[in-house]
Symmetry: C2
Subunit: 207 residues, 2 copies
């Protein structure tokens, strides 16, 4: 089945399954089931089985899934069985926090390129790598064939930065700036917006 | 219909609809449709209509939705038509970035309480409010009846902080620490994990 034939909403759940499996592996658990995963994740077991059925046969009726095999298969499907280099633009508090974030390791990503527009920051090292000028985005990202970037600039400059990244060949953007950015159809954007999670929980709170 | 009768996955989409509507309002658009929203969000128009039908009748066949009315209705449903005070624990780079984040205003949340365990940080002001000791979490949050908290500590201390927050009466936690925290059934947790968004996009990238 072609990659584009599978609904994006299904693809969006695979990383959640992978994260749950990684935890089970860390806990030393070897076998799991769609029921166990579903209970942990608040997703129905039928949904999980249906999602996975797009990609082949995993596990057997009655015996469940082998945690390591399914985890490895999902890494292959998601294209994160190798490490992607990632560019980060905007070295403020958030950019620094991401540079030191412990959650990327062994999950397919490493931030290798740092950019900022502030002359005082350019040349400073972060994780041993010098911060470079946003003016060199196109040159550096094309040279190193970088496809993924994160934007942690203020809202006002995020679109301009996105334009530069796209010009440099970036195909996937994780945007932390609180604005919607316009990108061509072949470029994907995901937003990190804390308010979405807060609002989802507020629904259940009593005033 | 009781709040708990509606699937959480439906509730999870409402903030996305609300964000899209807010943008349309900012652009001065008065009427929209499930087709337009669906196209913007990559969600089918049938799904949007079905989600909204849980909460009443919005818009009319052929005339679409009034943007301001639907936006206001969603704010009421999500319980964010007033402002919630939020506690933030962990004043590192990420905590500071969130303290200065421009995306909370007018969306139902304001960070009013800051906590850290570092004696050098305690007493410093952030947004004009002093950072307090994690030892005073229970006292301060109970006094001010705070129900929502964000954890931006390192992974190692996140569970201990979560335990203190729950002890203090917190019912909703937005967790940025890269670990899963254990909470009682009546407490909700949402995770902010950049890798989930990155992996979802990596699926579509060519090696």
């Amino acid at each position: 089945m072609a990659r584009s034939d599978i609904p994006d909403i299904v693809i969006g759940r695979l990383p959640i399954y992978l994260r749950a499996l990684t935890r089970l592996q860390q806990d030393g658990q070897e076998i799991t089931s769609s029921h166990e995963l579903g209970k942990q994740l608040g997703i129905s077991s039928a949904q999980i089985r249906k999602d996975l059925s797009h990609f082949g046969e995993f596990g057997k009726q009655g015996t469940g899934y082998n945690v390591a095999s399914l985890s490895s298969a999902l890494q292959q499907i998601l294209n994160v069985h190798h490490e992607w280099q990632v560019a980060l633009v905007g070295i403020g508090d958030l950019g620094r926090a991401l540079a030191h974030y412990g959650g990327f390791a062994h999950r397919g990503f490493r931030i290798t390129h740092f950019f900022d527009s502030d002359p005082h920051k350019i040349g400073q090292a972060i994780n041993g790598t010098p911060i470079e000028s946003v003016d060199s985005i196109a040159e550096k990202l094309r040279r190193d064939n970088i496809k993924i970037a994160m934007i942690t600039t203020p809202a006002e400059t995020a679109q301009e930065v996105a334009d530069r990244l796209i010009e440099a060949g970036i195909k996937a953007i994780l945007n932390y700036a609180p604005i919607v950015i316009s990108v061509p159809d072949e470029v994907r954007v995901q937003y990190i917006d804390p308010v979405i999670g807060l609002q989802r929980m507020a629904y259940y709170l009593e005033d």
